[in-house]
């Protein structure tokens, strides 16, 4: 193999890597897609939902062949505090009709399918290989080393995930700090298909995405999520790693406590836990973005920090897929000119800026500063749930109009009107 030279060696068969491999192979380029897991997807996990737009542009009507679970028809945001919870539900039946807005899915199966598309298009897919290092010549990347094996390519695409060892070895990325990433943990809880539809009040084949804020993280920056799959529920937590550094809370206990929360327990009753997984999320977005191109190398997907968590919308896979697409286009153009220098590969960044990837990350670049605000995780959930409980309680107490109730609760929650106004303004501007 060491005699062969590929147009591109792509490290990591996740959505970024497989998309790049698929598009390059489709154009007839020699592509090697390397995956450290026993199969593509074996090392990958996420919360549970992919927005469809990016993949639908590359593989139109992908849902007809891809292993997706349920199109999400209802979004729910839930505030949790003690025995109380308050939710906002939003349903749009259009979301569950073609071109389906988003799907819940399971990564082991889905990522294996996307890699198989690359393989069908002509890419060579090599699993069970962990890339140890990059090969350099005259300061430019010329290939990779995995154990004793050396493999060469015009360009290496590092799509090796949030812990991107390659982007760091290439000197493009610095080691992230704790507050720039979040730890996600998830359990897959199996339940019969019709039980899930009934419990969540959706038609057979449609699904729900629910995000939680408040007690589920014991006031730490983060939240919880629930996604309905066909025959299972993806239930988990996301907590900023900087918070985990400071607070002595055992993460495995947190998720078990969350399952016992009165807002969750009835939803998963009778279910069987089938898997427990964990992953880091590059939450700081642009502020942790590495140099995404160098001489002979591009960085895509989570490895480039292409994730956006606005609290009400969490995105990663659509960015990964579009960045894989931009990487493939960059390599195709570079190959045509026979030049893989940093200068030529810099068009990758231009493509990312023209696409929604850097446009959206740029637009929400300050969202992380907003979501760092601790009031969001303790004070506000307590305020919202307590106010809602008061609103709906009839017990013979003296009447109070809405304004009085609101002001009374603001006082009781020790919120300042100025603080509320500032947070409201920032939220409205930055999210």
């Amino acid at each position: 193999m060491s005699e062969d030279k590929f147009t591109a060696i792509i490290v990591g068969a996740g959505p970024a890597g497989s998309t790049a491999a698929y598009l390059l192979a489709r154009e007839g380029h020699e592509v090697l897609l390397i995956e450290k897991g026993a199969a593509p997807g074996a090392k990958n996990m996420f919360g549970g939902r992919m927005y469809s737009h990016a993949l639908n542009r590359i593989i139109p009507d992908f849902w007809e062949e891809a292993p997706v679970e349920r199109p999400v028809v209802r979004e729910i945001i839930t505030f949790l505090a003690g025995d109380r919870s308050t939710s906002i539900h939003s349903q749009d039946v259009e979301w569950a009709k073609p071109p389906y807005h988003s799907f819940t899915l399971l990564r082991a199966e889905f990522d294996a399918w996307l890699a198989s598309k690359a393989e069908e298009a002509g890419a060579m897919v090599a699993c069970n290989i962990c890339v140890d290092d990059l090969l350099h010549e005259n300061g430019r990347v010329i290939g990779i080393r995995a154990g004793e094996d050396e493999m060469f390519a015009d360009v290496v695409i590092a799509a090796d995930g949030v812990n991107s060892i390659l982007a760091q070895k290439a000197g493009l990325a610095k080691m992230f700090s704790a507050h720039q990433v979040a730890t996600g943990v998830k359990q897959i809880i199996e339940l019969p298909e019709d039980v899930i539809s009934q419990r969540f009040g959706v038609e057979a084949g449609s699904g729900v995405a629910q995000l939680f804020v408040g007690d589920c993280t014991r006031g730490m920056q983060g939240g919880a999520f629930l996604y309905t799959n066909r025959r299972s529920i993806s239930l988990g937590l996301v907590i900023n790693a900087g918070e985990l550094q400071k607070n002595q809370v055992r993460v495995p206990d947190l998720i078990e406590d969350f399952k016992a929360n009165p807002a969750i327990a009835p939803l998963i009753e009778g279910g069987t836990v089938a898997e427990y997984s964990a992953h880091l999320i590059p939450e700081a977005g642009l502020s942790m973005m590495p140099e995404v191109f160098g001489d002979g190398i591009l960085v895509a997907g989570d490895a480039a920090g292409f994730v956006l968590n606005l609290g009400y919308v969490v995105r990663g896979m659509d960015f990964a897929i579009a960045s894989g697409e931009a990487a493939a286009k960059t390599v195709i153009a570079a190959k045509a000119g026979g030049d893989f220098s940093k200068g030529t590969l810099s068009s990758y960044r231009d493509l990312l800026e023209e696409s929604f990837v850097l446009r959206d990350l740029e637009a929400y670049r300050r969202s992380h500063r907003f979501t760092e605000n601790r009031r969001l995780y303790k004070t506000y959930p307590a305020f919202v749930t307590s106010f809602a409980s008061c609103l709906f309680t009839v017990d013979g107490s003296p009447p109070a109009h809405l304004l009085g109730k609101v002001l009374n609760h603001i006082r009781k929650s020790r919120l300042s009107l100025t603080g509320l106004a500032i947070d409201g303004w920032k939220g409205a501007r930055w999210l």
């Binding site: 992230f176 700090s177 055992r250």
Partner: protein, 95 residues
């Protein structure tokens, strides 16, 4: 649903343990000087434990998330982090 222990949760996962090589190495000398030892709380698999005041780490059962690496106050010194060799480690069946 009954509460599950971390061991029970990890027991559900599929692992191919590399008996020859640990993919994460912990320098207990450095850890001894660490006050908070956040890894003992933050690791989702609960693999960092204290035995007689000393860090004990078991790489079998690692979910390969990198949380320990992120929270370690002596990152890169106390914990030498990498992925398992190809084909080894956790294998998610759902993900």
């Amino acid at each position: 649903m009954k509460k599950m222990s971390t061991e029970q949760l990890l027991g559900l996962d599929k692992f191919v343990v590399d008996d020859e090589q640990a993919h994460i190495k912990v320098d207990k000398e450095v850890c001894r000087t660490c006050q908070d030892k956040p890894c003992t709380y933050a690791c989702p698999a609960g693999l960092y434990t204290l035995k007689d005041g000393e860090i004990s780490f078991d790489y079998a059962g690692c979910l390969e998330c990198g949380t320990c690496r992120a929270v370690c106050p002596y990152a890169g010194v106390a914990i030498t982090w990498s992925y398992p060799r190809g084909g080894f480690g956790v294998q998610f069946r759902f993900g």
